[in-house]
Amino acid sequence: MKKAIGDNMIPREWGFERGLELIKKAGYNGIELWLGDVPWFQMATSDSDVRELRRKVENAGLVVSNVSTGLHWAAPLSARDPAARAQATRIVERQIETAVMLGTDAVLVVAGLVTEEVPYNEVYQRCLEALKPLGDKAARAGVKIGCENCNSEQRFLISPREFSQFLNDVGSPAVGIHLDVGNIHDTGFAEQWIELHGPRITRIHLKDVLKHRGRCGDQSVYTNLFLGDNNWPAIRAALTKVRYDGWLVAEMEARYRYAPDQQFYDTAQAIDRFISGRL
């Protein structure tokens, strides 16, 4: 397995190049690029500038693990307004286009957002209708769309079987799951999600979760690897069982208050430990 970390973890004042140096120095193999979440990679970033990003990544001795985005929280594929939905679709299309330019084969999509206003059935239907053609487009580009399990935040596809049924209904081999082992909270167990989804897993996001906090308080439920309640030996064993040998992408919500670069080193070492199975 290979290690990556998101460019949205790079302290803003550092800039992209200095961030790449740190990521390489900390021992990662790759970087996850977040479309729209960092100043250097926006929807308006031109193709030539995207290629320049790739050149910088490769010059640093890294590769791009995948293209993610947080833009769908504001413009979800499940929006009622057709104009917002068109924007959401365009975001996925741009992810696919840039993934090809950046030399990677996976994008992360937060597929739908259930709210008080937009109910579950609508979100389900709309996501299916959006993802079927996007799956075709991704397949033609040689890219896989990984729908992330943002269980609590999305209030959508809460259980692994439900998620599996959703992927069955999409019915595209180019649409799978970008499985975040920290997002399952107290509604299940990451190792069971891994086992159930197996070959449909496009990428793994790593973070730990403090299940006892729940989502109602004002403190984040997320924490750094090995500090929370995930059963890391079971997660490691499940990855072996399903023969997952792809990218492990660190996605930390809580950042170090001091010495932010230290978090890159600590996380890289934790991932090494996780990969080695010495848990």
Partner: protein
């Protein structure tokens, strides 16, 4: 047909008794306004439900989903349907239209059907997600985030949102004109059984 001729034709049909008998074989038709339809989901919703119903109604029914700008040909179809004693359901999608189309939509409703509409209202955040219908039976159906309210309630009002009138049923000669200011088609598309029951009852009325 010139605009003046069309308007007088339309106004006459709306206010005078229809002279054409019911058809023996009634039909349910969807009038897809294509680029003038704001919500394609609405067309899909009505299509799915009507295909499932698979029966001839007592009266002809013409449904116009998620209308924004209403072309004259569409108006003619609606007027003809009402003249023939049928039910016309005009669903407004103008809450999702651009300003020009919204203005044209409101002008058409005012000039041709004497239905005056207020500006669109963004409903959320609100306490409950429903439109309260009083006809053909009392029920709560999901809202669709934006509504075009009628300018004032009358005894023809059949749907309410937060105290605002958003749907009406009006006799037009032997025909019936139903205006929906809150889109129902996308709710049908999402599989809402109450919305389906509501439509079924209207079609059978």
């Amino acid at each position: 047909m010139y605009r003046r001729e069309f308007l007088s034709y339309a106004a006459g049909i709306v206010t005078l008794p229809a002279v054409i008998d019911f058809q023996h074989r009634s039909r349910i038709e969807l009038l897809d306004l294509e680029e003038n339809c704001c919500l394609r989901e609405s067309v899909a919703g009505y299509t799915a439900v009507l295909a499932e119903l698979g029966f001839a109604s007592r009266r002809s029914v013409l449904i116009v989903p998620a209308a924004a700008r209403i072309p004259e040909t569409a108006m003619r179809r609606m007027v003809t349907a009402m003249q023939a004693g049928g039910i016309v359901i005009l669903e407004s999608g103008a809450g999702f239209a651009n300003e020009q189309d919204l203005r044209a939509h409101r002008d058409t409703l005012r000039d041709c059907f004497a239905v005056r509409l207020n500006a669109p209202v963004q409903l959320w955040p609100r306490r409950t997600p429903y439109v309260d219908f009083t006809w053909p039976f009392a029920t709560k159906l999901r809202d669709f985030s934006r509504v075009i309210p009628l300018d004032q309630p009358t005894d023809q009002t059949i749907g309410w949102v937060d105290g605002r009138p958003v749907a009406l049923k009006r006799q037009a000669g032997r025909g019936t004109f139903i205006f929906l200011g809150s889109p129902l088609g996308p709710v049908l598309w999402a599989g809402d059984v109450d919305a389906k029951r509501w439509l079924l009852d209207v079609v059978r009325s």
